[in-house]
Point group: C2
């Protein structure tokens, strides 16, 4: 369920054979807005335009297509992104600088802008209140549409996201849109978004590969009035965490959500480096996939963080709550029991470094033959 004043629509406009490939999210009134984007040096044309658009701090709509990402397409790509914003603005009766554009899909292919311009005509008539309709229109290799809602005070927050592979956000993530009817000024909204993203979407990695299209935007149309900021941040962060876990679990080919908790690092930054090293290690990921408690791989992944403070003698580790390493040495444990817990859908790996008070959690998934299958045959041109 959307917050007051938000609706969405999606349809097939011919980019994909028959699945929905164009999505429109709209607010009935202008909303204050904030966004974070990928740090990749080759940002897509929509990112280049989006950085300009978001400076205004006001949005009425988001228009997003799947199938073609409009990346590595040069000046023509940016022109296409502008035409896409203008088409949505004309349909909604607003100005192009109040429309955020996203494109996701294959890199290096010209955007079929004519199909999008023709396809967006009449979409206002389709606008309705189920966020999943919008979520479906932005899917690429996702196995299911992703949306969730929560309430805080008198307001509602709704998250809609997509993302499955090429995911290690370092500034934002995939496409992730957040809608609320709470009232905030743009500067406060920006701070709240960055704070929530730092410990959620920025701690997610499916495959270490940072997309050129990552976008996380929030729109607050104020129709529910003011909400206390710290309460809002708590709910915002919890929802971003839940969506992060949902994206990790639906990583390409994934069969498990892997949650890595690192405690007792020198500081939070080093905790994050170690947690990411573990969650990204192909040998840890295949260990989870094989439900094989090969705990040496955990130590290996900790130990390869060359620039972090690691004391082998103070390092402990747990798999799903069972301690498997004490003071840097493998402990005897019931192999069959730990192996059984590794077959759960959610796998928790915990490392205590014992050198400080820095904590961090990272989110990822196992590495499967399904990942290889999907990415060895992904449509390329």
């Amino acid at each position: 369920m959307f917050p007051r004043g938000f609706r969405c629509a999606s349809r097939n406009v011919g980019l994909k054979p028959s699945a929905r490939d164009l999505t429109l999210f709209a607010s009935d009134v202008d909303a204050t807005a904030a966004a974070v984007f990928t740090r990749n040096h080759f940002p897509g044309a929509p990112i280049i335009l989006g950085r300009e658009t978001i400076k205004g701090g006001v949005l009425r709509a988001i228009i997003a297509n799947s199938k073609v990402s409009n990346v590595a397409t040069g000046l023509r790509g940016v022109e296409h992104a502008r035409r896409m914003a203008a088409a949505a603005a004309a349909e909604l009766g607003t100005s192009p600088d109040r429309v955020l554009v996203s494109s996701t899909g294959v890199i290096g292919v010209p955007l079929p802008i004519e199909k999008i311009e023709a396809g967006v005509v009449g979409m206002t008539a389709d606008l309705q209140s189920d966020p999943l309709v919008g979520a479906e229109g932005i899917m690429t290799t996702d196995t299911h549409p992703k949306a969730l809602s929560a309430s805080v005070g008198n307001a509602t927050i709704t998250w809609v996201a997509k993302g499955s592979g090429m995911i290690e956000p370092n500034m934002a993530t995939m496409l992730s849109y957040i809608f609320t009817d709470a009232a905030f000024d743009a500067s406060t909204l920006d701070q709240l978004l960055r704070s929530a993203v730092a410990t959620t979407f920025n701690r997610l990695s499916v495959d270490t590969d940072t997309s050129t299209s990552d976008t996380c935007a929030i729109l607050a149309n104020g129709l529910a009035g003011t909400v206390e900021a710290s309460a809002f941040l708590a709910v915002l962060t919890a929802g971003c965490r839940r969506m992060t876990e949902t994206l990790a679990r639906d990583g390409e080919g994934a069969e498990h959500l892997v949650r890595v908790t690192v405690r007792g690092a020198l500081n939070e930054g080093e905790a994050q480096v170690v947690a990411k090293s573990i969650v990204n290690s192909p040998l840890v990921k295949t260990m989870v996939h094989g439900a094989d408690p090969n705990v040496g791989r955990l130590l290996m992944a900790v130990g390869k963080c060359f620039d972090c403070t690691i004391h082998p003698g103070s390092t402990d580790a747990w798999i799903n709550g069972f301690q498997v390493v004490g003071h840097g040495e493998r402990l005897p444990f019931d192999d069959a029991v730990v192996r059984e817990t590794l077959s759960r859908e959610v796998v928790d790996l915990t490392v205590e470094l014992g050198v400080g008070s820095g904590d961090a959690v990272a989110y990822g998934c196992d590495l499967t033959k399904g990942y290889v299958d999907e990415n060895a045959s992904y449509y390329s041109s």
Copy 2:
């Protein structure tokens, strides 16, 4: 063929069911020696001992076992490594501080030291001149033993190595032993080794995972007299490069050697970061596996080097000599032709950054279902 005065032997001593699992390399006379080891914070017991041993700069022998790595085994592990050196020294009639010890295999399992002590007895009688016999005894998931020889001046250099997974050396690599009858003092030998390793073994990555046991050692027994250092370094480096390519090609599950050349980076350090980013990208690795010229993935992997100087407009890229990116945009190219070249055993990816004069080459392999198979079921306890 070994250089003068070097021989080796290997046998099964009961660590593996029947394959050779213990190897002895010996020089007839004392050899000057140098070595580099893993930078992993959890070095195996043999590394802890080896760093002490190599300070003397003199070795007579190397003893190495496969199947159990003697890592994460605490003080008892170091004691076992010392006993292994002593057993080899007794068999050869030298002192334990002239024997380098290596162990490779599963982490966190006690070394079956009694089997090794009993098994080494009588090995001097087996010493013979084929390096492949030694190479076979140190194999783990390698699909074939790896040795090669070259001559320089009056001297010979022989390389023996193993390594297939858990490979991203950052200081040295896997187990890699180099034998020569050239004469060098220990300090010069150390400089030559570090220089050769920097652009070869340190540019290799199978899976980003840095082993806890990496060792690269060189023994120079001087029986061929002096050799001009720069000529020696050239041959030493060429052989290390050839062995690096051999290890990459035999990466776990690999079907292709992937060679990534980055030119025109701000400096050599940034060239190395970008080359490693490409060679380690799961999406680039699966692109090679699928022979699918999805060139956006190349740009993505360049662009995620956040801290490097990247100018999209000056970035060009080639797949096996065919230009696919110009000025940061995907160029039209004959998809079928490029696809056909991607099915070659050796795949060359080249990126020109156009911002400086830093060059680097990195070596890796494709990501296959074979890697997942091998590592989801690797013996764990």
